[in-house]
Symmetry: C2
Amino acid sequence: MPAADWILTNATIVTMDDEGRIVEDGAVAVQGGALVAVGPAAEVRSSFTAANVHDCRGRLLIPGLVNAHTHAPMTLLRGLADDLRLDVWLLGYMMPVEREFVSADFCRLGTLLACAEMIRSGTTCFADMYYHEEVVAKATAEVGLRALCSQTVVKFPSPDAASYEDSLAASRDFISRWKSHPLIVPSVAPHAPYTCTAEILQDCARLAVEFDVPLHTHLAETLQEVEQWREDYDMPVIPWVKKQGLFDAKVLAAHCVHIDDGEIHSLQHAGAGVAHNPSSNLKLASGFAPVVAMLEAGLNVGIGTDGPASNNDLDMFEEMRLASFIAKAVTGDPTALPARQAFAMATRLGARALHMADKIGSLEVGKRADLAVVDLDDLHARPHFGRSPDAVYSRLVYTGKAHDVTDVMVDGRWLMRERSLMTLDVAPLLEAAGEYARRIDIFLVKREGSVLNKLIAIGGAEQEESYEVQVKLRLQDSAPALARLRGPDFEILRTAHYQEYDTYFLFDDPAQGRLRYREDEFVDDEGTVSNVRYRLTLTGPAREREYEHSVLLSRSRFIAPATHSLRFYREYFSPQGELQVNKDRRRWLIRFRDQEFFVNLDTIVSQGFDRAYLEVKSRTWSRSDAEVKAGLILDMLRLLGLEQAEPVADEYPDLAMAAEGRTRPEP
Amino acid sequence: MPAADWILTNATIVTMDDEGRIVEDGAVAVQGGALVAVGPAAEVRSSFTAANVHDCRGRLLIPGLVNAHTHAPMTLLRGLADDLRLDVWLLGYMMPVEREFVSADFCRLGTLLACAEMIRSGTTCFADMYYHEEVVAKATAEVGLRALCSQTVVKFPSPDAASYEDSLAASRDFISRWKSHPLIVPSVAPHAPYTCTAEILQDCARLAVEFDVPLHTHLAETLQEVEQWREDYDMPVIPWVKKQGLFDAKVLAAHCVHIDDGEIHSLQHAGAGVAHNPSSNLKLASGFAPVVAMLEAGLNVGIGTDGPASNNDLDMFEEMRLASFIAKAVTGDPTALPARQAFAMATRLGARALHMADKIGSLEVGKRADLAVVDLDDLHARPHFGRSPDAVYSRLVYTGKAHDVTDVMVDGRWLMRERSLMTLDVAPLLEAAGEYARRIDIFLVKREGSVLNKLIAIGGAEQEESYEVQVKLRLQDSAPALARLRGPDFEILRTAHYQEYDTYFLFDDPAQGRLRYREDEFVDDEGTVSNVRYRLTLTGPAREREYEHSVLLSRSRFIAPATHSLRFYREYFSPQGELQVNKDRRRWLIRFRDQEFFVNLDTIVSQGFDRAYLEVKSRTWSRSDAEVKAGLILDMLRLLGLEQAEPVADEYPDLAMAAEGRTRPEP
């Protein structure tokens, strides 16, 4: 009789083979990491001798679950920030923290913890996408799990690369060295169409084709992405990436929430796998993926947890249940996505989605011995009805919990026995994770306490000159002064005309300064708006304030392009109050005695306070320079005939607040 | 110093009081089943002595969870039938099994198991609605859980009452005897508007008001219910039940999936509580309840698991997470229903929904000591971030699992310590539950094997006379025969004209017979359809078949009103094939030599076979009578001038199959 390394016996085997065979009183034999027999226990035990026998009495033996999409190292960011909009969550929290903390050490620790959690919940293979992916691969292989490890490529600098060319080179290197690993399938992950360029997608596809490895990406996760694509390219996301040759590669596409029937057909035709992420799609309010339509079209749709920062765990039992529940509610059909199909998504379909079905996804002779033992004999899963052949799937999907998994084997190696992890010592990992959390807390608390730090955290902010010289006058009639401005005393370098819509975010703590969100509409000579610019300006409180008539201020000022919505900034900065000031501004850049000044003629269109003002302004890094300019401004006012005009010390938001009868922030 | 029975110390206390206080290093003191102190450990321990101290180091102390709607005894039906439509599930499985098996013993066992599962998952109070509710109350009180126990009242006979008057009397009796129980609040549960009459709702409301106890009911669970109400009463469900005086009582309304803003306002104005059941609403595809709108309107919305037959468990951690997730996805707003609010729904809002907020729902001095200790220090909930005050709610709702609950106390009594149940021995209960499952399996297998048993199981079927005499002739021209029928040899007792639309369900096993779903449209003298009747007829295979020309058949025939849709019957009976035969039928009931016969003139409007037939038929319980009639038919044919007409032995579905060239069922 041939010898096996292990026989697992007395199990109810849920094979997930093509016939959907369920073997009562079944056994499997494992030899060299592969399944060499699957069948009735009596038959298997009379065909193989085995050095070791594992008794599964009263338990289910299932194919190890396949987590079709995650970001394992983000386990260290679990619960960092919840109940936020996607952009606030991603741009305001995840990315700043990643920029600051993500390192090889971070990725190794996060991966080890993720592996521990996945083993405990019956997952034997996962599709990962993150930075430092070789570190992820190494940690995973050490622990003994199987994974598709996809090195992220994005167009901007990332925590592990200064440029996308570096990421691509690192991906090539990683793939070539790990190509034949028994547990790891290395691959490349152009992050998403909106974080890549067409060229990056093309390069990644070529790389994946060259090495015949999968390509892992996010596609059509949010409605916003798809609408952007329709606007920019007159087509949705799937045909556009197809045009870039993405489907020349074996694609694993995460999410696919907002795709139509044609796109489903395209994905199916391309042999692409899809990773459906129910918790993440709900928690981030991305929407409801058309899972039933995808399955009906014959697409290989697996189930993923997504990263633990948007889930907040790696529990495939929850995801299976959710996939089924949501499909029923969305289609209005309680027979949709039955338990049996949800379990298939988490096993055989998931394996196909990862392009790894030759090795895993079912318990069949010839496949690798990746499996889990599940005890559904506990209280919450009882009683058991035997009438329907699908009852076992119903039990797994509708009542099974992560904690019901007792034993896990991958590639013939035990990773957990009787709920004890065999290849990991978790305690020191948790301690190290706690240390990261402590440091991240400090980083964020410091940042949260400072509007400036929050502004810097989202990127693009630049400091402006720290001295500001300015005078503001209330005007009844601007015509005489403007006539003199055009006279011989001044050289006009540039003129412009804007409509300015300013929203001031106000903070109780005056030390925070004021944050202004400005929409500048450029008005051309015909009076039509030709361009719009969005900017954020954070102005600190003045440290110095001098002169009566002309004013010299020393204060910090940061300026940044406002690439997101006012709504985003409002939620991200959480001001205590808000104020709106709209004005028409004609602006002249002039030269006067070899110094440059801006002259603004502002007509306030908000209600409640005097309407026309003239400002003369200049900025500089130098105090002595500022003092010279302050002196010049007095001469300028004389030449403009404005020496008797009423000076106004307050700035526009102060004037607006005074007009509204309030002195402090109001929500 | 005053003495306490217990001090629970070193906990992070999530009080859920009005200020949402979270006490780090906190303690509570319990005396006489009530909380006598809640605060910093040092303070509490310096104010009270205690005979017993429970150390909660590293753990959370939370108010016990409130399961706002369930049917505890249905724990015994968990997993019995899944992935089915509501009507097939309810009418085809739940109700027939309940009719057969629900007894006081069943309810006691199911309740004990449900209590075990709820204690293990941190639930300390539940709102129940079932039959034999006094048995439920008694079992719950024995175990030591708190519950709102609502005796079901329905218009039809139920497993515990022959009539609704009996249920009402039993409810009154139950309420009067349990009114002052320390753990149980007895109440009455008119099941739903569609299972009650206006009078029942009125009587129940009066009963609840008389004893000042809550009234528990299902409202607006499905769109079908609301549409029915709009059709029948020209208003949705909530205003209709209000008209019946339902809101004179303190109402707990389960589901409220399909209600509009006006109805939300009505519920709020009436002080009604709502039980939101996320898993059940998804799994049965009932829809998405407008939870965010309800909460914004100030309604007290709790969270319920519903019965374990539609969930399939009693895990409030899952329900909290789902409530939050779904609200986000449905509103498209990831900030909707944040973790903190979901946890409030499962505690303080749930207590209010049950009209029990004076006793439970938060950890505050003066409330009862109903609490749970939760260990979220395990792998799947780490690391912990401390920056946001809401992080603890996020941890509870987004990563907490039922298994994380370690200790549970109700009314000052420990029901679980270190995951060991203190008041229940589960093993014999599980064994007894297994015995029920075995018996139910046998009952259903027997029934599933027989179309007749399935027909009987859904009610209303009656057996018809077992002998059938009939002759069928193919006619070219029916006029001469009809002229003779109106002649002196025959007495016409009744005439009728129908359009008949027959759907035959065909089964591979000929012993099952054929099931016919017939729509009879009555056509009046003006040729307009005046009435429609839906009937099911199950005809067994003929046991005897005699005579060449006239035919005598002996076979079973069951007839039942078809009160559900064709779609329901199709899913419920799962035929292997189906066949459609539509015909125009003119029918005469005639007397001939003191015997009554039906004469049918049928014009088949389905395609593919001869169109006009004349049938003469009669049914009887007596074989000798049948033989007499068979003889008379030959005389009749002669008098009608049809002795040369071509007799047809096949029945319509056989003719149709032959015409379509098929001999066996086709899907």
